[in-house]
Symmetry: C2
């Protein structure tokens, strides 16, 4: 379609158009694949998984596959400098656990997920959906996803 | 000033207004304070500094205070699982060093810094200025800064 240039009616200021555009972006279009470890895994397993999958945050699940905790690179670095044998440290004693974990859902606005990341000073949110009494992890929403969205806002206009 | 609502002439589409607004954001208005360690420091010192200052990236400087390297939480986690005594590992053997480091300057556009972070898959850029033959570190630009800028784009409109 030809761009509309010149006089046009929107009923809105330019600034409002910006907000409208950002408020259309949802978590479902920007999240990454989640990487999980079992709550019976040890810290050494978790660090290995983190490097193999090249992620900064792991989600910890129980034997039903339901979310129970979150492990950051910071949690694992703290553990690794204090311990002789990381294979003897179970992840469930070093993770942040429910209900302290912040989560988001795939229909949430990307901007609301961004606000949660900033206000709670965390790097990633699990994208979850309710399943029975638990939360199934279906995605991972990070500051990298938000940074990509920010870059695309401009790149898409330059085409 | 009263918002202009209704018919107005801009010569631009709403989308272009979005791009214009983002292209006014510069690194100088969003970067954080840099945290540096000396290149003679050891990995244990670096990890301690990272926790004390609560940052994910340290910049390594020489005895003139000039940038020589970058240390990420990932670099330090990798080192900490492989070593018995972290006080015997000098940071200059585990850091990413110039000229492989990506940098930005305070007058750069925030969007260009965001593109560098994404394309190079890194968490932070040192904000530098030339001083003699070296680069002085005057700031730290991270995905957190970009996420904050993204959130503020909408928050400022809601006032």
């Amino acid at each position: 379609a030809r761009p509309r240039v010149g006089y046009f009616y929107t009923g809105k200021t330019g600034s409002e158009l910006l907000t409208d555009k950002i408020k259309k972006l949802s978590v479902r279009d920007y999240h990454s694949i989640p990487v999980v470890v079992n709550d019976q895994a040890n810290a050494y397993d978790a660090i290995t998984t983190m490097f193999l999958e090249d992620v900064g945050t792991l989600f910890v699940v129980d034997h039903h596959g339901m979310l129970v905790g979150v492990l950051s690179r910071k949690d694992l670095l703290r553990t690794s400098i204090g311990q002789q044998d990381l294979t003897e440290v179970p992840v469930h004693i070093i993770m942040t656990r429910l209900p302290k974990i912040k989560v988001c859902q795939k229909d949430d606005l990307l901007i609301d997920a961004g606000i949660k990341l900033i206000e709670n000073q965390i790097d990633a949110l699990p994208v979850v959906q309710e399943k029975g009494k638990g939360l199934e992890v279906i995605g991972r929403l990070t500051k990298t996803n938000i940074t990509k969205a920010f870059v695309e806002l401009v790149k898409n206009e330059d085409v």
